[in-house]
């Protein structure tokens, strides 16, 4: 069953329009919404004038620069109020890990301004934080690779007695590096600490196939739609640039347990690894759609369109069927635009294209 969006005067704001080697999910989310027949206005919320989706033809009708999440709720709210003086926003879909918590905390203020979201609550969000993943899920019988917190470079010297090498050294929000030795641990610890702060995590490496699942939870432990894929192409940054949709009973059950444990509400991406003995391990839960979300639409479940309907409070049917064997391969393409568009955005912090 395909989801249709026939709301004509609706305005949807989406963040994260960067594509390229470390793509953000905004562009594919908007494309899936458009492909559901959406005729309303799309607003792009960006942090950088060079986010490529700004210039993608027919994607966003209006673009507004946003203050970084670290600037705090008042600054973000003031910017939203400025935008609302120019255009209404009915639905906001944040797509970046770093901005989700801010929008969750602003839920009431957004609601007062007529802006709807479909996000988890703060407790659900924090339970899946990388720093809490091991504790949250291991206790529920969901396997997670052993994880140790590093708060000082000298902690690296105690690692060998606690976890097996090689390890992944991860930032709490972004970045992960494989470390084979204590020296490498110290190097990556310092690198990640300087960029993303503490804590830094050391996680045992599980060898096997990587599976990613994009899904939408209803907040009561149920999955409203989900597409699992096995990564076919992995870049040197660990990003999946190709994948194929699979249907694996054990994987489905594992994912359902994860969602039930959190009572997750909204979109997310669950990352798993299956070892050579067919055991699944939970690696990460990202609190937003992944950059490969168009694969869901391609396999028969337009999950971004579903989230639009859920945000509006409309009934949706649980999607259980999808087409296995649907694959994606990421394709880099040059977008041609006039520099005056970037100029307008740089000078005024906004880019308005025609009336809608």
């Amino acid at each position: 069953m395909s989801i249709k969006l026939d709301h004509k005067d609706l305005v949807i704001a989406v963040s994260g329009l960067k594509t390229g080697d470390n793509p953000q999910p905004g562009v594919p989310i908007i494309r899936s919404i458009r492909n559901a027949g959406f005729q309303g206005k799309i607003i792009g919320l960006v942090y950088d004038n060079l986010e490529s989706g700004i210039y993608y033809p027919g994607l966003a009708d209006e673009i507004y620069q946003m203050p970084f999440p670290s600037e705090g709720r008042d600054v973000i709210l003031a910017r939203i109020d400025y935008i609302l003086a120019k255009t209404k926003i009915d639905i906001l879909i944040p797509t970046l890990d770093s901005e989700i918590i801010g929008y969750i905390r602003l839920a009431k203020e957004l609601e007062q301004r007529g802006i709807k979201t479909y996000l988890p609550n703060e407790e659900q969000l924090l339970l899946r934080d990388k720093s809490k993943l091991f504790k949250t899920f291991q206790a529920k019988g969901i396997a997670v690779p052993k994880t140790v917190f590093l708060t000082d470079a000298t902690d690296a010297f105690n690692l060998e007695s606690q976890v097996k090498f090689p390890l992944f050294i991860k930032g709490a929000l972004y970045e992960a590096y494989r470390a084979n030795t204590i020296n490498e641990v110290i190097g990556y610890f310092n690198l990640i600490k300087s960029k993303w702060g503490l804590p830094v995590l050391a996680q045992e490496m599980v060898f096997g196939d990587e599976f990613n699942i994009s899904l939408v939870g209803d907040g009561q432990g149920n999955i409203l739609g989900m597409i699992p894929q096995r990564k076919l192409i992995i870049t040197d940054k660990g990003k999946g640039f190709g994948g194929v949709v699979v249907n694996n009973k054990k994987l489905n059950e594992f994912t359902q347990n994860v969602v039930s444990t959190l009572n997750w509400r909204g979109p997310c991406e669950v990352e798993l690894i299956k070892d050579n003995d067919d055991n699944f391990f939970l690696i990460e839960i990202n609190p937003r759609f992944p950059a490969w979300i168009r694969l869901a639409e391609g396999a028969g479940q337009n999950l971004p369109a579903m989230v639009v309907k859920l945000a509006l409070g409309e009934e949706v049917e649980t999607l259980t069927k999808y087409k296995t064997g649907t694959m994606f391969i990421r394709h880099a393409e040059d977008i041609i635009a006039d520099i005056s568009e970037m100029g307008q955005l740089s000078a005024t912090g906004e880019l308005i294209r025609g009336e809608k």
Partner: protein
Amino acid sequence: MKKEKLADLAINQSGFIFDPTTGYSYNANDTAIKIIQQLIEGQEIGAIVTELTEEYDVTTDEAISDVEYFVRVLENYNLVERSNVY
């Protein structure tokens, strides 16, 4: 022999096989595809060997050896499981 997984495979007549439970894909020749289909239909290895000797110019020993090797390949890909060897 456990061969339930074979029934899940999407087999294209051009020899492309996709395993929807793992996302792995394989290429196989006509004979291999035919053997997989015979295994899915529940034929015993002895019957498959007999059919091979009737269709191709091979001895029973050669056919047994080839089928045995092929089943080991399937085992290696976790597509079938055996507790003992033919």
